[in-house]
Symmetry: D2
Subunit: 159 residues, 4 copies
């Protein structure tokens, strides 16, 4: 972002940005479940992450303020609120306003999430208990990298 006097954009088209499987490290987020943050565009409210969940991993009931897509590569996970199970090859569209509780039922469940907006974590009464968004997740990821002795990762910050 710049509000300084603008230079004319160059004629060259912007490059596509590639992240190979091992370009960014996974951090442990508990009991062997893992997180990698690939891109955060703070002003747009956009974040792209990858998780590897282990069986029994649970994400607190949350409401999305923007649309989210989940692409599952391996394993099995579901939302407690629905019957279907995400397995290898599943695509899940979560519209803004949707509310659900993630449960993982197989080890090495690997999922990419393309997310916009915030996750509003809800208590049993449906009240907002805490909020998770892209910048907070990036900060946690960087702190966990450092705490776990991993090199500082080159997350794409911006869009």
């Amino acid at each position: 972002m710049s509000t300084a006097p603008s230079a004319p954009p160059t004629a060259a088209p912007p490059p596509a940005i590639h992240f190979g499987r091992d370009d960014l490290p996974f951090v442990d987020i508990g009991d062997g479940s893992k997180l990698k943050v690939i891109q955060v565009d703070p002003g747009a409210g956009l974040w792209v992450i990858e998780n590897v969940f282990q069986s029994g991993y649970r994400v607190q009931t949350h409401k999305h303020t923007g649309p989210v897509w989940g692409f599952t590569v391996s394993g099995a996970w579901k939302y407690a609120e629905y019957d279907y199970v995400n397995r290898a090859g599943s695509v899940l569209y979560e519209p803004a306003g949707s509310i659900h509780t993630l449960l993982c039922s197989e080890d090495d469940t690997r999922v990419w999430f393309h997310m916009t907006g915030s996750n509003l974590n809800l208590d049993a009464a449906g009240e907002v208990e805490s909020v998770v968004d892209g910048p907070l997740t990036l900060a946690a990821y960087l702190a966990l990298c450092e705490a776990q002795g991993l090199p500082r990762p080159s997350v794409l910050v911006g869009g």
Copy 2:
């Protein structure tokens, strides 16, 4: 939205949807300040509204989970956190994550807001006290139309 077996899209391009100045009514939201809801796309987390604020109107400190643009046609308003004043001809870009408290200082301050995501209303300690989004604002608008004896408005629901 449809997940029924898909019909091929027609060849005709979709029309642009026009809302003239008087096509949708304003409702009173207190002390003569007014609200009109023009479009809500729930799944995308998008909402487009118009406000007419009177001097002294205040909006609780809130954090945005998606980007917002404000286009001011008349009057004067500012965020308590910043010095600049929005007047006729002002454009304000509010990135996701921005936090501020709206104060109106002139009567008949007219502003269009193009919004994505939710407004997280914060208490003095910075905790989320309540959440406002497009569907909730639409529901409030429709209820106020009815309570104020106005015909049911044809808000664009979808995108």
Copy 3:
């Protein structure tokens, strides 16, 4: 955008960015019609502009590849394809895929456009003749500022 090793985001929320009526100059785009470019986020395909059209101004038939919103402050303009006229207070939603030909019928027609994607300019046979997007419009705006002896404007480049 950065793919260098990431610094943790600061705790401070990002500021809202204000453009007062006279913060950015208008350039003449022919016969007294004018253009101001306020924001271009190239990677997101987003652009926010303001036009002042004079009666008789015409924009070639074009198709949008992303959604566009038009907010009219004064004057009168329409699309040749539809009957309604945009006047002070009008809001127009143009979904991706919509096709139309802008005609201005009153002097000093002032409109903000919140745009995503590209304008595909179509010839009489409906073939793409040229393409206009945010970065091209920004480059033209900066060149016209320079040619018209205006100071280099501080357009918001990014989101």
Copy 4:
């Protein structure tokens, strides 16, 4: 989309929409390469697809008018313009304005694309030769399903 008088939104949150691996058929798009269209939101210019490319598959040089993300599950593909190769676990961010030529170099290269805007197919001189977008791709997908004797698929049309 509705511009009829609005009913108040229900209190129930919208469901997430799940597509299991075999819920939508692949169609052959030449020499064993395959396409599945999962979601098209025409007004937003959004489309989500899955491809299985075979070695030698090539996609004409194209420019994107909105951002695109590619998530690769297996195989190998690259853009002729860059050195890196997308393999299992790769994530590719293609900003609006990026231009490239897809080449597949291994059989059974499986990729999800989360796309916005249009693909402007460019000839050798860089001129727009044709345009591909979500609705056109959906129409082609439905026609190929029918031609290949597959049941009409329940693509998610909308958001």
